[in-house]
Point group: C2
């Protein structure tokens, strides 16, 4: 038995690993955790693979994120990258680097968050492998693997054509609103993060913070978009304006966003990252899958990659991890 107030340094690798594996639920793989590598079914012979990392400080603060939140978000952001190719997520590999004073209850909660995000967002997907190491900085690197429907090609960023409809599934700006609330309301006089006091939040504010800490990207809509003939698709992780410019650059087109489709706070919708919505383009006559809404039009390549209401957009566009964060931990 592990006492969940013990640290991972006190427990040692074998018992920390056993505590994690006990939380992960059944493997769906040919060979799941426990050997040198996992062995996974790959459908008709092509797989989709991506990796994304959450680092204590730049990507989360433990005063704000629980272990459960962290596991959930680490799964969700990677599932979204698989979905954005039009694929079904099938497996996660989780590389956990933990300070030796990490409470084991944080690690087991993290495993719970990983499992429940998979079950909620991508049923059938599970953690099938990973790695556990010690580090001064709590780091969660998740690899997500997925399969494409039979004989269907992946949906790339580069397939948008002039005249296509620009469509979005999921939130735009909500996670950024939540992050702003965390920075404005839940820091001490020195600027260090302090725990979230839900009694100081309206239901809408609480919902925005949840969008930041436990995003719910529309994973099943990735394969649905592929089936509906999406010409291009990507995960919106760094803000709609910046990510739309990436899709437009890859496709050699210009994305013209309609601000009236972006809600009351269009500026935050355009600049705010971490919602992990799906941005997709469809031919002008395509029927958008339920869950997608039209947010603009693809045009011939203009002087810039992104227009808003037909004009150049001069607002803040997005997030660079090497210039965009302060070093305060919590």
């Amino acid at each position: 038995m592990t006492n969940d107030a013990q640290t991972v340094g006190e427990l040692g690798e074998a018992r920390v690993l056993a505590a994690i594996l006990a939380r992960l639920g059944p493997s769906r793989a040919v060979i799941g955790p426990g050997d040198d590598a996992a062995v996974l079914e790959a459908g008709r012979g092509r797989i989709v693979a991506t990796v994304d990392t959450l680092v204590h400080g730049p990507d989360f603060r433990l005063a704000w994120s629980s272990g459960y939140d962290l596991g959930w978000k680490a799964a969700a952001v990677n599932l979204a990258d698989v979905a954005a190719m039009g694929a079904h997520p099938t497996a996660l590999l989780v590389a956990l680097a933990l300070p030796d004073d990490t409470p084991s209850r944080l690690v087991t909660a993290l495993a719970d968050g990983l499992r429940e995000a998979c079950d909620a967002l991508a049923p059938g997907c599970a953690v099938e492998g990973g790695d556990l190491t010690v580090s001064p900085t709590l780091t969660v690197a998740v690899t997500a693997l997925g399969v494409l429907d039979d004989d269907r090609p992946p949906v790339l960023r580069s397939g948008a054509r002039p005249g296509d409809v620009l469509a979005l599934a999921g939130d735009a700006g909500r996670a950024a609103q939540g992050l702003r609330l965390l920075f404005e309301r839940f820091r001490d006089d020195e600027g260090a993060p302090v725990p979230v006091d839900q009694t100081r939040l309206t239901p809408d504010e609480s919902d925005a913070i949840a969008a930041q800490l436990r995003p719910v990207p529309p994973i099943r809509l990735g394969p649905a978009a592929a089936a509906a003939g999406a010409t291009a698709m990507m995960d919106v992780s760094d803000g709609l304006a910046l990510d739309a410019s990436r899709l437009a650059d890859a496709s050699g087109v210009t994305a013209d966003l309609a601000s009236e489709t972006l809600g009351a706070d269009a500026a935050t919708a355009l600049s705010g990252g971490e919602d992990h919505a799906l941005l997709a383009t469809f031919g002008a006559r395509a029927v958008l899958p339920d869950g997608f809404r039209r947010i603009g039009t693809v045009r011939e390549r203009a002087a810039v990659a992104v227009l808003v209401d037909g004009a150049r957009y001069d607002g803040q566009t997005g997030w660079d991890p090497y210039t965009g964060w302060d070093a305060a931990l919590g």
Copy 2:
């Protein structure tokens, strides 16, 4: 152009990424780096997937390891896990977490090391995706993917049977000898690592340090062992005695190692990790593939998982990351 004395914080994400991609060489994937995820051929429908992480401090010190060494080792240790399943490595995904004061030349050298390790150890395998983030702690998490030869099952840890030959391909104890030399000879009066002065090393010592910093695991011998009918196989990363006990436990047998096969320093061969040799078992009549040597025999399960020369082994067995390292950086 990037000036390689600039830091990643000065350059920003886009230029660091461009500098890395310029070093990686051609993609062999259906879709390589640049979209939300890579798309990879998966042979006859099963893939092998593993992840392993190197963390500054516990796993390497920059006074001893160059960026090139680090990239090479991060690739090699993961390729070995794929090979240990009997599979051919096909792709790496690399999650790099970098302090913002990291010199960009370290990052480009790391990319060179990744590429050259793939080319030397697993031709055809390349970096096909990754993630770049900022962290207080330099961390390299590599996911390796591979494919099995047509219709051949993976070689697991659990297939060893009494009477099988226990065989090893690659070094045992060499990387540990190198690590001991680094700790004994290349630290200052406070114990902090200092750069390796090759003029203070014999050729044999220099070779041992190279085995620690740039291991050369016998990747091609993993599929060769599978083709020769290996009944079980694993990568030896934590020491021969400890890893043999894991294979024996998984198989419900006891591994009896013959000390006279382990060289002049059998104790280091038994306890020393990080060689990433391949430990495999074969039926008594099998012809061992060139590169494997017999190091013992598989016996009916005894009271303990590992014997040495038929007797219980009381020496040091291996390495636990949460109890085995000191916190000095360098």
